[in-house]
Amino acid sequence: MVVPSLKLQDLIQEIRRAKTQAQEREVIQKECAHIRATFRDGDPLHRHRQLTKLLFVHVLGYPAHFGQMECLKLIASPRFIDKRVGYLGAMLLLDERHDAHLLITNSIKNDLSQGTQPVQGLALCTLSTMGSAEMCRDLAPEVEKLLLHPSPYVRKKAVLTAVHMIRKVPELSSIFLPSCAQLLHERHHGTLLGTVTLITELCEGSPAALRHFQKVVPQLVQILRTLVTTGYSTEHSISGVSNPFLQVRILRLLRILGRNHEESSEAMNDLLAQVATNTDTSRNAGSAVLFETVLTIMDIRSAAGLRVLAVNILGRFLLNSDKNIRYVALTSLLRLVQSDHSAVQRHRPTVVECLWETDASLSRRALELSLALVNGSNVRAMTQELQAFLESCSPDLRADCASGILLAAERFAPTKRWHIDTILHVLTTAGTHVRDDAVANLTQLIGGAQELHAYSVRRLYSALAEDISQQPLVQVAAWCIGEYGDLLLEGNCEDIEPLQVEEEEVLALLEKVLQSHMSLPATRGYALTALMKLSTRFHGDNNRIRQVVSIYGSCLDVELQQRAVEYDTLFRKYDHMRAAILEKMPLMERGDYQVDEEAKQSKAAAQLSEAAPVPTEPQASKLLDLLDLLDSPSGDAQHPPPLDPAPGGTLVHLLDLPCAPPAPAPIPDLKVFEREGLQLNLSFTRPPGSPALLLITVTTTNFSEGDVTHFICQAAVPKSFQLQLQAPSGDTALARGGLPITQLFRILSPNKAPLRLKLRLTYTHFGQSVQEIFEVNNLPVETWQ
């Protein structure tokens, strides 16, 4: 029984009537089986209908590959209606990966040379959509002939097909280049549009073509001028702008031709100014043209006045009520802020307004731009705005905003007190989002500002008393209280209102930090050390402190336990040295990002425990010592016999520590890698205490247009060295000079062998993954002496 085949309309109706996915599948499977049968032995007259139904099914997402051969048959048929469906099927079903596609090459060749115009159009269209490299090579001569076909309908399709062919097979450009000169004289807009695209493609492909076409710049300028002034034809104008698409294309080509080329740039200057001032921007079409003009002005060697005009246009865009236009303005200003800083500065207030946009992509760009615009004169006002933004912005922007504010404060802080206030404010608002070295920076800053010690410790104490959950803040506060606790007890300080604090309150607060489950192990370490320091700063008795310290002697965390035991021993055996060990820290050297006073303190404690063996194993002997101390009331004055020269020697060493020899001359930085805008810089430091240790900081900055992601840097050194890599600050380098990635290497070289360093980078840039392995040459001599 022959089931009559459904017409296309009926099939569509039936599919739409299906209420569930399963029902739809059923209908389609039935129909596909039927179509398969007709393909095998149905009559050729109605084959196109079957294929059309099949294509509909394919568009819905179902597999339809068995129709590929039918496409070939239909294309070969002489009827237009067959060819139309066949070519559409070819575009949808065939692609480069299946060898079947080569079979239509012959049909296309016939159609191109002998078909009627519509047929030629179909063939060209298909070729440009799915033409593979082999097909393009075979059919290039035919397409070239059609470039000069009398009918514009065919010409314009041929030109764009040529563009596709050049993309697939770059060597074919030599075939199409000669015709371009004649095609430029076109009056037909469609063909002109295609020609300009073709020339653009040729120029981007090879520098020789670029030079060749720089001669036609005057001609292009003339075309554009005619477009703008006399209005070529009304049928191409959109919202009063004559053929904006053609204008945009020509502007783009001018940009490529004028880049780095004085002569061409000069020829374009007047025209660009004319377009910039005459275009009507009340509708989107005009804005599109104006935007492209601005981009072109910025890219070529234009006159300074023209550049300022361009930036002002962008500034005007920022005030536009249309979000889209604000978006493109912000993106472009971000690109320009490095090169034309002062011109962009003029629009700073508007940029800051854009921080409060509801669309996240807009506010992110506004944030980046605002951070780039901060300088010495506007830092106070800008920081205020940015801090207000920090309080209310979305979480993913917080980290960037916080680090941006801190960086800006570091570079442009007018006074130290303002700097400390700013960092404090950031830590309280967004403490969890700041980078790890913020703590170290702040402590170093406070340590250096002698006159502000009292002020800082008071502010930090009040902040800590309110909230102990923000870890960086707690760490800094704990450190500060430990160092300057005595200043906290004096009631008055001129800058803030007097705060009456009792010793017991301070100790209670620190204990609270120690016990809180929100505190990280590092924070606890800070708190414990602070408590210990207070034992010398405060004048009450130290029982409470001693109690806490001994409790933590049995803490599960090994770091805390070690500290507690060492401090406990300090109380018991070395009480006479306690004051000297715990006195105020000297100012730390700048330039060591990761070295914090923790390391120095534990080094000091380690030296102590090295010189005088602290008995961690025999608890019995400890007990005996304790009994000794208790027996002799002047236990402090008595040294246990076995430690005679050592303590004195250690004491001398410890006292020496603050007065370390001045830091050696800084080693110059080294730029080791550059590729497509991604740069790698190495900076070297030697911490003064350990001459065998070299710290290398690797900074990766991205000046290109695209973000670099999944960035991993690995290093290798000769066997005689020891290398330790610390975790990098991130794995993404934002485009256009955004936040760089930093990573620290520690290299220990016990013998003074020459240092060799090999680096391996893997990352993703412009959608491609890159791997680079190279050895760093010309390392400065100081790195291994």
Binding site: R84, L160, R167, E204, N243, F245, S361, V672, F673, G767
Partner: protein, 162 residues
């Protein structure tokens, strides 16, 4: 100084391999059904399906307070919503957003004229004609013909041949 640039055969130094400006054009309805998918770049079938789903997810959550541009993988999508249909064009990051927005509007106006006040059902029942319109206005991933009158004239001429 070590440079990592590898020479690219036959291309200008430092210029990436040039692709078609438009990667694909999609028309989807709010429920996610594709009404038209024109690809100007090679993708596997399952990649295509995945892309369609991703675009749908990204575009339907946005409303009037968002811009018409979305960053998507390492391209960007320019889209506009007309009644229940989303017209999306996927282009390179460096392209002129506003111009492509105009192109979408131009295309929709042509569809409107051709189908006499087009609605979604027109696009469903005449899907092959929609492909013809696309091919008249865009070719090889570039904008081809921008004059609405010319395009309509050609479409009517093609229709008369059937």
């Amino acid at each position: 100084m070590v440079t990592g640039a590898r020479p690219r055969w036959g291309r200008a130094e430092g210029v990436p391999l040039h692709m078609a400006e438009i990667r694909f054009i999609l028309i989807q309805n709010r429920a996610g059904k594709t009404r038209l998918a024109k690809w100007y770049m090679q993708f596997d079938d399952d990649e295509k399906q995945k892309l369609i789903e991703e675009v749908h997810a990204v575009v339907t959550v946005r409303d009037a307070k968002h811009t018409n541009f979305v960053e998507f993988r390492n391209f960007k999508i320019i889209y506009r919503r007309y009644a229940g249909l989303y017209f999306c064009i996927c282009v390179d990051v460096n392209d002129n957003n506003l111009a492509y927005l105009e192109a979408i509007h131009n295309f929709v106006e042509v569809l409107n004229e051709y189908f006499h006040n087009v609605c979604e059902l027109d696009l469903v029942f005449n899907f092959y004609k929609v492909y013809t319109v696309v091919d008249e206005m865009f070719l090889a991933g570039e904008i081809r013909e921008t004059s609405q009158t010319k395009v309509l004239k050609q479409l009517l001429m093609l229709q008369s041949l059937e």
